[in-house]
Symmetry: C2
Subunit: 314 residues, 2 copies
């Protein structure tokens, strides 16, 4: 059942022992949602528990400094920014997949898995959670404002991407007035490259290839490159943005080696190419300009699979 912000706030108010879950390989938006709600619900004196399949990337850990996870068995389970049960990750899906009470999400490709769904088309799920927290009547302090700002800024490439709306900027304005440290956060998340990441970027860009008259750019990031650069998965979120930046490219593809014959594919597109359409064909999904999927095979096979699929859309 699709519900509105008011009903979602009511459900949260009515319940105690609230379990917040983020999607696997958590990004700024899913963590921003979870931690903002965590702090807000604690202000209402509720017991709150947070869980996620994977470790929290270093750069987002400042958001949960001092967060004390309550421990309890059963509760009201809320997923944030999760478009599909399988994006919970195996362990979390096993533990909570059947028991999610409320899903708060902004993916139009959302595959319903909960009795209650709050779904709005917003650039970031944090824009929706912001409304929910306002509706809860909780005073938004700097800590909460920072969480929401991180979600909004990371999901929009810091207001660069075409998903950014007037509403997104209004949220940012309000959050800055509420104390969000936008300058510090942006410097940390968007204007700082570790030396290891800078080295990885160089390696990745050196194998970037253009296809289909320069309309598609494809770049691969292998485990060997991680070893050589000293970089790791947790610091390379931004790398998928690079192939699309080359002039004339409509589909920018990044293939990242995950395991034996397993590749995570990121597709970023420019108008009019639909990234979600491309990735859905391969069992993935996401947004019109940024989507992902997993493909299997050797690197060459993986490239061929994704290039064939991109070609159909060009």
């Amino acid at each position: 059942m699709t519900i509105d912000v008011k009903k979602a706030a009511e459900l949260l108010k009515e319940n105690d022992n609230i379990i917040l879950i983020s999607h696997q390989h958590p990004d700024g938006d899913t963590l921003g949602c979870a931690f903002a709600l965590f702090y807000a619900l604690k202000k209402l004196n509720k017991k709150v528990h947070f869980e996620c399949q994977n470790e929290i990337p270093k750069k987002f850990r400042f958001l949960c400094n001092g967060l004390v996870n309550d421990e309890f068995e059963n509760g009201f389970v809320v997923s944030v920014d999760v478009a599909d049960r399988k994006l919970l990750g195996e362990d979390i899906d096993k533990k909570y997949g059947e028991k999610i009470d409320l899903a708060i999400d902004h993916h139009l490709s959302h595959r319903s898995f909960s009795p209650f769904l709050l779904l709005e088309e917003r650039a970031a799920a944090c824009e929706i959670v912001f409304s929910v927290i306002e509706q809860l009547g909780v005073e938004i302090d700097r800590k909460i404002a920072n969480c929401l700002y991180v979600g909004i800024s990371t999901d929009t490439g810091c207001f660069r991407y075409t998903n950014t709306t007037a509403h997104t900027h209004l949220c940012a304005a309000k959050l800055i007035e509420l104390g969000a440290e936008n300058g510090k956060i942006n410097t940390l998340l968007f204007e700082t490259k570790t030396k290891t990441y800078a080295a990885l970027e160089k390696l990745a860009l050196s194998n970037l290839e253009l296809y289909f008259d320069g309309k598609c750019a494809l770049m691969s990031v292998t485990k060997e490159m991680f070893r050589e650069s000293g970089s790791d998965e947790t610091e390379c979120d931004g790398i998928s943005a690079l192939p699309r930046q080359i002039e004339g490219v409509l589909a920018g593809v990044t293939i990242r080696e995950k395991g034996e014959n397993e590749y995570k594919v990121s597709v970023r597109t420019n108008d009019p190419i639909d990234a979600c359409e491309i990735c859905s064909k391969l069992g993935g999904g996401g947004h019109i300009r940024a989507s992902g999927c997993t493909v299997y095979g050797t690197l060459e096979e993986a490239k061929k699979i994704i290039l064939d699929t991109v070609k159909e859309s060009l």
Copy 2:
């Protein structure tokens, strides 16, 4: 005499034959201000003339498609985003430097040169011009909104830099509601690299050096690099942002060869280093996090001059 937005609007209403001038090597903010005012004043049926020392960079030309410059000799002269007379450029200074009636600016380092000065501390001068146009009572159409959005987004690194305030985001929200094509503009200005620029970036980054325990990063861009990459001055505004992005760097310096023994220096800093203080010592100026100056000598001499000055601030 320092005036407010209301008085500035009155002056513009009272006068006809208005001459708008931008600073030399025009960027998105000075052009956004000039063209937004141009279109707004035309809506009030005034004769308007625009002038600038240098050519308009290609990427900003979409802002003045269809702009018809009125030609007349004398008029009410308005400078926009000009901090100092000498930033007008030689020809423009000769022609108008003594005759500027109104300066609209956002540089706290502004050196007054006009009987009337509208100065506010904003991230972009376009934030101020936005208020002036609202005060003029002119309906802001998509064309004007695009000009103002370009100024605001370029002067804040698309809302990344620490100069971005709640007011900046509020302006962006309003402009998007008024029709500003933020998605298209951002893709063009921030998410697209020409192949020649990408090649220049690679050459420049390969000579980046760290000084003072990694607190200063210095990179030079020579005429030879422009030749080798096929790039030119008009497409490399963003390059000065790169040195400061390396983790641990407090002062990022870019030295660009301008002429025989003449180098344009860009300084970008992180808290607590004051870029304006550094550049002021060398006869330049700007903002606390981004400033510029010109130094003379061989490349090695120019490097030494700027490094010695940076060292005093570290």
